[in-house]
Amino acid sequence: MKQTEISSERNSSTDAQNLEPWTNPTVVGKPLPRVDGYERVSGSAIYPADLILPDMLHAAILRCPHPHAIVKNLNTEAARKSPGVRAIVSSADPEGKLVIPYPWWVPEGPPVLLFDQHCRYQGEEVAALAADTPYQAYDALRLMKVEYEELSHLLHAQDALKPGQPLLHNTGNLVRRPDTYQRGDLAKGFGEADVLVEETYETSCEIHATVETHVAVARWEGEQLTVWVPTQAIYEEQKSLAATLRLPVSSVRVISQYVGGSFGCKAELSKHTLIAALLARKTRRPVKLALSREESFLCAGNRPPNVMCLKAGAKKDGSLTALEFTNLGAVGAYADWADAAGWAAGSYACPNIRTQDTEVYINAGKARAFRGPGAAQSAWALEQMIDMLADKIGMDPVEFRLKNVPATHPRTGEPYTSIELRECLLKGAEAFGWTKARVARASSSDPVKRGVGVASCRWITEGGPPTTVIVTLFPDGSATLNMAAADQGTGTKTIMAMVVAEELGIPLQKIHVEHADTGTTQYGKSGGGSHSVMVYAPAVRAAAADVKRQLLEIAAGELKRPAIELSLKDGKIVPVREPGQPKNLSELKDLTRREQIAGIGHPPPEPKGRLIASFGAQFAEVEVNVHTGEIRVIRLLACHDSGRVMNPLTHESQIFGGMVMGIGFALTEQRVLDDHQTGRMVNANWHDYKIPTAKDVPFDQLCLTIDPKDAECNSAGAKGVGEIGTVPTAPAIANAVYHATGIRVTQAPISPMQMLALLAARREAR
């Protein structure tokens, strides 16, 4: 999700409770298995794609095969007569002109028509139909006759603003006014530098490649629409669907109880969800629309490609004097973010900085938020640049980074609630055996070269309202946790159940989590920007504390003692002075009479004048075979400050998962477009688009943590961890490749193909 560096709104909540973070938690912080682990592993969890409703139809979408074309004529007659076909929607219908709203983090952009006759990317929706079976639907698509007028296409950001290039939108190819940030005096900073380095870095377009493709099931009951869709953002989708279909918000219900991976690409209303709803309305039958793998490669989001030009200067003592970072990013065919430079301004203490982000349209699928959006691309460039500077002044890269760790946020001067970046670097380096590994080099005759690299990272997270959570306690000591949060595989359900267990002293098994359903939960922020734990843990805790307060009041009345002399332990009321005389909840008559206690919680507002950010450092060791270009990551070590670790198992999953993604970003993943000919994606499949396999991931992975005991960030003491784990991995690997070979690979991914070409070029240069 698009994250703004500085929080603009800090809502205050009147019923926020001032709870201090736990000092000796008994449940929180334990490596407990997931509450829904059995369901996920056994296959009994029902994902939206598993859903089968009575009379359900199956829909499929006809997509433009060209990167840029006009639909001159669409004939659906034969498809309409094809067996099993029940309804068709296309630009010929009034619904075809519906406009899909942008998500809140993309403030403006050219209108996104449901079926635009001007198709601006391969895979753009042209028409859709619903049939009795998925096979009938796909067969019928082939019978649709479309006459396209192919237009010349634009695939590279570097070409977008040149004269004579195709224009994607009336407004031109520039997405928004370039975003520039400046502090200090750049020329002066470069003048003070003892060494200067200049380099251009490029990242490739990376696809989210979630194991579960996008899918929606829609069902109407009268004017009431229910949509099952894997999403991080049920309320965002509800609002967008209601606005598009001109329905009251309360008439749209969005359910997302299981999500098979998202990484940011399932956080906004997609066309296929709207199409499912329209076809269901037309046929008065439920409709399922599941995208194929190929479709999800083409038009379900991506990490946009960036071209980043950097110039940096440092003094011999390792202090950064100046940084200039100019980024050009291609968002795809519609508005989104492809920023990178601005991130660098907040990373290190550098007095003189100028950054500029320019974003342009190209004829390719639109970008979407992708785990550490912008930050991962920015780190690819900046963290290699830091390595180059350190190399040039002959300083150890860890030491160089330590020299430039900021005391406060470099852009605003605001202090962080906690910052353990220095400790992350030091502890990580020690555990990694950095100093020794840095010196040890393979003999020069061995074609397999070893090297180590480091990169650091930072990720700002915002918690706070608005979000409402309800915890309900029953007299039998069981509880229901009701919250909006989806669990896109991050472990949110587990962690929040642990918070309830911690606060109420009842076992995890007795807590049911009712979540991610706009029909049964209250508004809650979407799961994005790594903030789920920061938004929800304080809210859940407040709700549970509200339950506890009410319960102890009831007990106080019955036991005729002040509530303050009672505590709640193992699901029983325990008088503080006579711990041997616990009372079961079922013995409390008033509780039994009330049937349940409901507590309501909201996250307290964020601390004023403080920023909350997670930090980390990652270390990589690689082997590069200079005869074959093969690169093997031998080991990875992460040392992160994400505040309190709520559950070491889910925390490790986040960091390891992030690092695996980082390996893909660094070494294997790349959208390949048929550049000089058709402009189409040639590798829109699992085989040709190469995500890392188990063999590409080192066995030796370690995740260390530093708990800053942050009492200010929120009542859980926890900061975000969902995205940061992937940010430094790729540059750490690139730096290790440089250490191993002396070759600076500026373009991601570092494939054996590229490595061999660079090795050959060096040989020739010598």
Partner: protein, 334 residues
């Protein structure tokens, strides 16, 4: 999503061959390649003839003459883990183990591995390319990072198989059954260059299938190895690979087979490299000359020049490993 086809599962080879005689028939063995091709519309099918019910096509056994027979339906996993193969033809076991992914090796067959269609992304994708009857090879001016540097003309596919170069190096023979009866073709002559025929990658005629592979015994003391380089650790085809079989006295090469994968439309036997090696001691100079010979005549496209470097790299690396594990040739006394 799939074309409409009939499906038959004969229980005998004779019936299978009869069924395959009608046009639009395709053989189904492991199905790992067939189903993908049908789903992606690479080719159509009117009839699928599943040979999975024909027991005699399965299994690995040694024959009295010392040869080994591998039934066409034997899975890649079975080939990779067979002690008989591992002991006698290490190269083949390594090649089978290097193919695809564990799931695909459990399902895919050795016959299918030899007959699989090219992985060129234009051929597999929604492009009306030359090999599919169109009038353009998109690879020539397009994204040709994974295409061939040897043997291309008009079409620049690489043969995707790992076991094929291994079998060529082992002088294996394909036993083929068709409407006209049996025939035997050396694997070295089984594959077809685009210059000869654009529409097919091997000599199988309509209605013919491979029934088994036979492997002659390797001379005692021979060594063999398969080296594969790929862009990711598993489930990936070769950027380039080297199937190598050698007979040494000390470090002197008495006989060799050098076959490359991933660089040509067919398993690419480098007779020139074999000539360089013949009668020579493995030493740094021989290694260099062998690598030179292996890359001679390469004609890279715009994006695949790295393959020339890569072939050089794997030839040197594989020969060096053998050199270092063998004692120097005893000097001959007169």
């Amino acid at each position: 999503m799939l074309p409409k086809f009939s499906h038959v599962r004969p229980s005998s080879l004779r019936q299978a061959v009869q069924q395959l005689a009608s046009s639009g028939s395709h053989v189904h063995a492991g199905g790992t390649d067939l189903l993908g091709c049908l789903r992606d519309g690479v080719f159509g099918a009117e009839k699928i003839v599943s040979i999975t019910g024909i027991g005699e096509l399965r299994g690995i056994n040694s024959r009295e003459d010392g040869a080994v027979r591998i039934g066409a339906l034997t899975t890649l996993s079975e080939v990779a883990t067979s002690p008989l193969i591992a002991q006698n033809y290490a190269l083949l076991a390594q090649a089978a183990a290097a193919a695809a992914s564990p799931q695909l090796r459990n399902q895919g067959t050795i016959g299918g591995n030899l007959c699989q269609r090219p992985r060129c992304w234009y051929f597999r994708g929604d492009f009306q390319c030359l090999r599919k009857g169109g009038d353009t090879c998109f690879a020539i001016n397009g994204e040709n990072e994974f295409h061939c540097v040897f043997g291309g003309s008009r079409c620049y596919i690489v043969h995707p198989s790992d076991t094929a170069p291994a079998l060529v190096a082992l002088d294996a023979r394909a036993h083929i059954r068709g409407p006209l009866g049996m025939r035997v073709v050396p694997l070295g002559s089984f594959f077809v260059l685009p210059a000869l025929d654009l529409a097919r990658e091997n000599v199988l005629r309509s209605g013919e299938i491979i029934t088994h592979i036979s492997l002659p015994p390797l001379a005692p003391g021979s060594i063999s190895s398969y080296r594969k380089v790929r862009a990711r650790g598993s489930w990936d085809f070769a950027l380039a690979g080297l199937a190598l079989a050698l007979k040494l006295t000390g470090r002197r090469v008495d006989w060799s087979r050098v076959v490359l994968s991933g660089v040509a439309p067919i398993p690419w036997r480098s007779s020139e490299t074999e000539k360089v090696l013949l009668g020579r001691d493995l030493n740094p100079r021989t290694l260099r000359e062998a690598a030179d010979a292996a890359t001679r005549g390469a004609e890279p496209l715009s994006q695949n020049g790295y393959k020339v470097e890569l072939v050089r790299g794997i030839v040197e690396e594989s020969l060096r490993a053998i050199m270092e594990s063998h004692p120097e040739t005893p000097s001959e006394r007169t």
